[in-house]
Structure formats: C-alpha cells, structure tokens
C-alpha cells in the first residue's frame, strides 16, 4: 500500500484533489471526509436550482455524463474511500492522525495520514442581530438549505422575501425568487451600492436600475437591524430606515473561511481569515495542505493575501495540492479576482481592482469609462457593454476591468482576456494591442478591450480630461454646486434637443459634432463645457480640437449617453 492521504471537505477542492491524487498515485489510500451527506456539488449552481432552471438538485451533483457524484461513485469509479456525514474534529500533527466523528451516531475514530488536505471551505456570515435564528431565516451554505428554500417557495409559503446583502449570491437568489416564482423580493445592502467589492458605483448603478425594472426592490445604505418574528417565524426585517414584510429572509452578507480546525491544530492562519499556504498549497506544516475557500491566496496586483471563494479557484488549488502530494512540483501563484454574474438580462463582472480599491492600495489610480458595441456595430443583435478600466498613472499598469453587458458571453470574453493580461502585469499599451479574434458576428475591428486601452492612454498622456460620472450626477442634482458648468451635447439635434428643452440651454446646449470645426466660435468661453455624446469618443475628438483653438476649458463625460441611459436619472426626459 502506498501513501495515506486524508482529505477533509468534499465540495470542490477536496474531491478534485482526491481524484487527482488517486490518479497520480494509484497505490495511495485516499480518504475523503465530509460532515455532510451530500458532496461534490456545484454550489454556484444553487440559485439556478432554486429558480428552477436546474430542475433537480441531483443535477448539481452529477457528472457531465449524468452519473451521481455520491460516496459510491467516488469509491467505485474513482477508487477513493469516501466518508460522508463524518466530521473531522481534531488533527494530531505529531502522530499524523485526524479524529473524526459520525454526525449521526457520534461514533469517533482516527484516520492516519501521511499527507492531509484541508478543504473545509467557507461559512456564511451570520449577522449578530435579534431574530437571526427565527424559522425562515436562511443562509446559502449548503444544498440542504437550498432544497428547503425551494420547497417552501414551491408550497406557496413565500410571498415576500428579503435578501440581506447585495453581493453575488444575494442577487442571484433575488433573481431566482422573482423571475420564476414571482416572490416579492427586496435586497437590503449596507453599503451605498450593490457589489461594493467587485465593481464601481457607475456599474453598480446600472445593475440597480436593471434589478428594479425586473421588480426586485433595492435599498442601499441600509443596515439590517432586527429580524421580526411571530410565533417563532419570520414576518419582516427592520432596517435603519424602514420595516419590510417578509416570509423568508436570506442572509447573504458574505462568507468567512472555515479555518477553526486549522487554528486548533496550530497552523498559521490569518486572524479571522483564511489558512496561509505557499505556492504549493502547503500550510505551515509541510505534511498538511489546504485549498479552496478556506485559504488565502496572493492577489497578483497587490501582492497581499485575500480570500477568493470561487469554485473555479478551488478546483485549481485542489489540483495543485494533489500534484504536490504526489511529488509533482506544481504551483498556484495567486489570483486577480475574476468575477462574473448573470442578473436577469444583463451580465456584470470584474477582474482586478476597482478604482476605490486601487486608491486605497496607494496606487496613482484613474479609470477609463467606455461604452462600445459588443460586436460590429452593423451586425444584427449587437449591444453595448459598459467598461471601467482602472490603471496606475505612474507605472501605466492596468489594475482592473469592470463591466456590465448584455446576457451573453461578450463581457466574459473581455474579462478573461483581461485576467490573463493582468496576471502578466500588462500596461495600458498592452491592452491597446490585445489581439482579440475578429469577425463582425463576434467583435468590432477595434475591440472593446482595445478601446479601453486607447482611452486610458489618452487620459494618462493628458490628451483627454474627463469628469467622473459621480461628479456629473452630483452636479445634475444641484447645478449651483458648479454654476459655471454647461453641457455641450455634440450628438444629432434629434438626440440632444429633448435634453435642451427639458433642462434649458444654460445647462444643456447642442452643437452637432460635424459642425464644431466651423462654428466653435459660437461656444461660450466663460464656462466649463462638459462635452457629451453617445459613447465619449466624439466628445474626446471635440475636446482635442477645441484645445487646438485655445478653448481648453472643457471636460469629456466618458461613456456618454450609453452609460447614462443604463444608469437612469430623474432628469432624463
């Protein structure tokens, strides 16, 4: 018999490592332990199971060839001894044993290991507010919870739901509740925008508008203060601003690494954080590896450790751990935080840092906001994707890319290319020259990702001066804050006129793009002109021209009407 390998945790990293290490060392005795009865499931698929897109929870735990990944599958097909409903309760590093306990019988036993993998995952944050243990309060922590939620909805027990937390899981659940089941759903987010860690305010505002159009109520900047109950069951949520009726509440306020076992074993763990591993996924004990949501990985842009609880990374980390347990010196160098989600008819996603995060990290950061077509603008079905590309002005390194697009793979294509580029320390100029495959049904001759690079170059080199979208919105709410500002709309009068009429020429004036070279002297020169078009490119061109004739008091509104239309505004006619 070969090495004894014990793997604790059976969702993503654990099973991946188990089958890989078994393939690499067929003589190894590989034991997979999980406290749950259901293992090896696609946790990210839970919202689609709840929505009904995925009819049966078994689909989430089946292979692509429709075989159920239960303990028998792992034993028979994979040669991996699999102990479900078995909790690991202690690690004895000296004697290299793990004490396990059957969660039904309470029976205990010891598993010997030569090498151990901790793949204990993450656990949802439970907000310490009154009522948090009432019947009807859920976290999305495992498949059982998902099954129970779906059953309640299917039985008609849920007319109104509240999601606490505007992160990905919460929003995916909101869609599931609303779209198929018609549950009146409200999302309550403590921060002043949705997805605060992933995207900037502009992208988040587009998302908020879309959710509201799809009948999801969204309250931002509101703290959940108390969960209200009657007879032990949830009836509502009291926030810092209002009370919301609810038959069901999902706490989706983030996850934390499940690292207690590692802490108790004396391994190096970040306080209140994840297990520390090296590039080989080895913990501070060389015989113990860790992978998946329970570890902290290196952020390739900041060099700092961070938690990246994604099933995709868990699989990669699990595979690298398995390789190293089998003597193959594989490495996992870190991540750039690739993220994407579906929200009804749109996609929203990100890689790298937001502007806010980049500034907080001390970068000399700025952002290019663009709104190009996702494919040739003459191709039927083309749509707009809005992008924010964050870069460092000093080093010209690209730090992040966030975007919102239609519900297809156009956004993910750009994020994926960007992820590879970021991991290779790409500069703005590198982005300008990324060789996206081109044909009109798939992309534009100047691809969105290149265009983002172009704009960033122009900003970095001082050829383009812009106004931030948030500043523009502030001013539109209160003109007196900048009494000498005026919008110069260079779009066709058919597009500009409704705004000129609604807001008055002192706020919004029109001069078509192609007439500016002949008529620029008509423009006022005693105020700051905010140049406005559909996407920002005509505005930039006009700014450059006006600079050349000495009219330098202009700012471009990047992204233009394409972005504003998607964000919405009370002043839009």
């Amino acid at each position: 018999m070969g090495k004894k390998i014990v793997i604790i945790g059976g969702v993503a990293a654990g099973p991946k490592a188990a089958v890989r290490v078994k393939r690499l060392m067929q003589d190894a005795e590989v034991t997979l332990v999980d406290q749950d009865s259901l293992i090896s499931y696609g946790g990210c698929g839970i919202p689609y199971y709840v929505s009904g897109d995925v009819a049966d929870e078994k689909e989430l735990r089946s292979t692509s060839f429709h075989m159920l990944r239960d303990e028998f599958f792992f034993e028979k097909a994979k040669g991996v001894r699999t102990l479900t409903s078995t909790r690991a309760i202690a690690i004895d590093r000296t004697n290299k044993t793990v004490t396990v306990e059957n969660v039904q019988s309470g029976e205990q036993g010891k598993l010997e290991y030569d090498q151990l993998l901790l793949a204990t995952g993450s656990q949802p944050v439970i907000l310490p507010i009154p009522g948090n243990s009432l019947d009807g309060v859920f976290t999305i922590s495992d498949l059982h919870k998902a099954i129970e939620i779906k059953e309640r909805i299917a039985k008609g027990q849920v007319g109104k739901a509240v999601i606490i937390g505007g992160g990905a899981i919460g929003l995916e659940m909101a869609e599931a509740f609303t779209d198929l089941w018609g549950v009146e759903t409200t999302v309550v987010e403590f921060m002043d925008q949705l997805l605060p860690k992933a995207v900037g305010w502009t992208m988040a505002t587009i998302l908020t508008k879309h959710l509201r159009e799809k009948n999801v109520e969204v309250f931002l900047g509101e703290a959940a203060e108390e969960i209200l109950g009657e007879d032990g069951r949830v009836v509502g949520l009291k926030t810092s601003k209002r009370t919301i009726e609810a038959d069901l509440i999902v706490m989706a306020a983030g996850v934390r690494p499940r690292a207690q076992l590692a802490v108790e074993a004396g391994l190096h763990v970040i306080p209140n954080g994840g297990i520390v591993v090296n590039e080989r996924m080895q913990t501070s004990d060389p015989a113990i590896f860790a992978a998946g949501d329970c570890v902290e990985i290196v952020h390739l842009l900041t060099g700092k450790r961070f938690c990246a609880p994604f099933g995709s990374l868990a699989n990669k980390e699990g595979r690298v751990a398995a390789d190293n347990m089998a003597g193959i010196p594989s490495t996992f160098k870190g991540g750039v935080g690739s993220f994407i989600m579906k929200a009804f008819d749109i996609s929203i996603g990100a890689v790298g840092l937001t502007l806010k995060a980049a500034l907080a990290e001390g970068f000399d950061a700025d952002v290019s906001l663009t709104s190009p077509s996702d494919r040739a603008h003459f191709f039927p079905g083309q749509d707009i994707v809005c992008f924010e590309m964050v870069f460092d002005r000093r080093s010209r390194r690209v730090l992040g890319l966030q975007g919102v697009g239609p519900m297809n793979d156009a956004l993910s294509a750009r994020l994926d290319a960007a992820a590879v580029a970021l991991a290779n320390s790409a500069t703005i100029e590198d982005f300008s020259n990324i060789e996206m495959c081109y044909a009109p049904p798939f992309s534009a001759a100047i691809d969105a990702i290149n265009a983002a690079g172009y704009v960033a170059e122009n900003l970095c080199d001082g050829r383009m001066r812009q106004i931030g979208m948030a500043d523009f919105y502030s001013w539109m709410d209160d003109y007196s804050s900048q009494p000498d500002w005026q919008v110069l709309d260079v779009r066709h009068p058919k597009q500009a006129d409704p705004l000129v009429e609604a807001l008055g020429e002192q706020i919004w004036m029109s001069l078509p793009y192609e007439q500016v070279r002949d008529r620029y002297e008509e423009l006022p020169d005693d105020r700051t002109l905010i140049i406005f078009c559909n996407a920002g490119s005509r505005s930039y061109e006009i700014q450059v021209f006006l600079d050349s004739v000495g009219r330098k008091n202009t700012l471009v509104l990047p992204g233009g009407y394409n972005v504003i239309r998607r964000m919405g505004a009370s002043w839009l006619p």
Copy 2:
C-alpha cells in the same frame, strides 16, 4: 501649418491613422488618398451585406452614430483632406512627393509629404485558369463587387454558385448565398480540408459536416482547372474531378499584399509578399510608414514575418503608425494570428499554430483534443466546444489553440484569453491556471481552457497516451491496418451497445466506466485497447487505472464521442 502627412489607402489602417494623427497634431495637414470612391468600410462585413443581415452597404461605411464615413465626413468632422477616386502612382522619396492621378479624369498632380503612410491593403489572388475573366467571375475585393453580386442574386440571376477556396471569406460567402438566398452553392478547396491554414483536420471536418448539413456542397482536394462560359458568361467550373454548373463564381483563393507602389519606390518588400516594417510600422525609409494588409508583421510564436490581413490588426497598426508620425514612440510587436468566423450555427476559430504548422516549424509539437461544455454542464442551453491545443513537448510552451463551438461567444472568449497567454509565452501549466471568470451561466468550474491545459500536462508527462483522430478514422475505414486494435467503450451500455451491435465485439466492446476497477480482468490483454467515452476524461482515468494493474497496452481516443458525432462517420449507427 504643421507637418504634411499623406496617407495612401482609405479602408481600415489608412483612415484610422489619418484621424489619429490629426487628433495628435491638429496643425498637421493630413491628406487621405484612395483610388476608390467608397472608403472606410468594414470589409469583413461584406458577407453579411450580401446575405442581407446588413440591409444597406451604407451601414458598412457608417459610424456607430449613423454618420456616413465619406470624404465629406473626413473633411468636416475629422479635419482630414480626403481625395477619393485618386490613385497614387509613384513615390519620389528624394523630393518627398507622391504623384497621384484622378481615376476618372486622368488628371495628375503631386502631393508633398513630410511623412507618408502606405495603407494600400491586399488584393485577391486571381487564379491563372482559363475563363477567369468571364462575366460572372468575382473576387471579394471591394464594396462595388459586393454590391454587384447582391444585385445579381436579388434579381434572380444566380441559381447556382461556386466558391473557389475554402478559406474564411469563401465560406462566409457560401453561407450568405445559401442561407438567405437559397442559391445552390458549392465550395471547391484544393487542399484536403477547409481552413487549411487556420485549423487542423479534426476541426475542419466538423465544419465540413456542418456546411453539408446546411446544403453547402463541399469538394476537398480538388483543383479548379477551368471556368466554363457561354456567350462570355460563366456557366460552370471544371475541376480536377468533375464539372459543376454555376451562374456565378467567387474566387476566394487568398489575398496578397498590395505592395507594388512600395516595390517601385525601392522600399524593402518581401518578394511576392508584404512591406517590411519595424515595430514602429516604419519601412526601410524612415519617413515612410506602412500598416494594414500590405505589411508583414512578426509572428510572436515563430519570430518570422507573416501576412495577417485582418481589419482588427490594420486598425492597431494604423494607430501605432500615427503615434510615431506624431512623435509618440508606440510599438506594435506582432501577432499570434487570432481568427474566428461564423458558419451557420457554429463558430470556428484559432490562435497561434496548428499542429501541422508547428511541426513544420520544427517544434516538438503535440496536441490535446478536448470537448468540454461551454458553461456549467447543468446550466440550460449549455453546449460542447471542441478544442485542439498545440504545445511543444520540450519547452512546454503552448503554440496554438483551435476550436469549434456553438454560435455564441464561448469560443471567442477562450481564444481571446489564449491570445493574450500566447503573446506572453505561456506554458501548458499557465493555461491550466488561467483565471477565467466563473458563474454557471458563463463557464464551468473547470473551464475549457484549463481542461485543455490539464490534458496537455498529462500528455507531456507521459501519464496519458493517445491516438490521433485521423489515425483512428483510418483504422475504422480499414481494420486490417491494425488487426490487434479494439475499442473499449466505457460509456453507459445504452450509448455503447448500438456501436457494439453495428461493428461487432471484436471491434467495439463495452465495459462501463464504474465497473472497470472490479472487472478489468475480463479485458483482453493480447491487443491494444482504444478507450472511448464522451469527452476523453473517463478514458484517461481508465487508462491510468489499467496502467496501475499492469495493463499498459491502451490508447485514449481524446475528445471521444462529442467530437466524432460532430465530425460524422459512415460507421456511426
């Protein structure tokens, strides 16, 4: 007045450079010259104009804000002097002038330049066969030709068409003819596969099958020998194997750089090839730049120069040329040959080298063939993408990625990520760890691109031994070529049995995956077992297991039934 900039060629690189250089130097006198009356059009959109997807040719020459990009647009909106119907006939490098001629009046003149850009594009190869100038023989060289073809079809003058050449333009035209207009269309390709420069035989075979299902006849390995005419009009094509009736013939046998002007000016030009430029798009005369289809760029994998006639690269090259004319030291480092096209309901594309090209370049090349899902396999609407990843066994560098997928952006997303990776000299291991953004509606937890890396690792390290798809097909056509081979189908008996029945157990035997560990001793040990499943992953797992019990005489058929079903075969029940 500032610098005098003359730009010859007004389709893609030329206009891009003209407007960029004007923006960078508003005081420059920029003159754009083109022999055609129509300029700045999306040439890659021509097939979609012919098909009717794009209703009006003007859409191909309009901005995203619906302004026609004609000479007035360039003058008024861009400040670029624009001379259409004006041919550049000679360059006087000593006196820095270009002699131009009005193609209608024959009137000649001279344009002075401080800097000159050649963006003269490419011209289609005219096959030197009898009948090549008959009425009804077309190339897709400009918009006028496209307009004439569409008119003939719309008037009902084209019942049958033949496309000579199975490259991208030919196939896109074949789709345009067949799909909307119902023209009986035949593609004749000299090589033994479609897209011979872009993809390998397996991917091309999938494409051929799909085209035939869509009523495009495809003849491979056939030379066009004579175009047959009556009364000066095309009536058919005689090939090396048959005569095909046709009212219209499109010669789509490739393009050549249009470099005559550069040759006559004594610039460094590859014989029968493109203009040689440095990273700044400067020719051998530092005052003369060149960009677009007329130049040869550096292939980032081979280091050699090659022609890459893509509108996307033309725009990038034009921009870099403009930067350098304006004193900004931008560089264009080369390309990896990103390519994609739509063919009815599928997408097919490539980056880097095919296996054949890699072997010809002297690499120790091999290929991993995979057939994963384009998104989570449980997500509604998921589909299969087939990939060939080419790599060098010695350096473990990835050399290319080719694929066929459904008609969405799933393939382009992987190709785009791969293009960035290839340009950064990525290894197989780098591909295994590319951080694709993950959510079930967009991708799988183990993304297709990572899976391709995994398989390549296993091949490179000798853990997986495979049989090439072409070798497998040869054997299926003639079992006697390898009398000791036998297929071991490890899929569910429901899937395997029809093949066992059709071909006999001596050729095709069944033993389900999950039973192999218990029943492997039943397997014959006197022959080579070709292990077969849906995608190749179960086959690999079984191979590894059989190795561990001393049964080492096995080969995996990579990609499995997913690929074979798409390729088609006479022996498939």
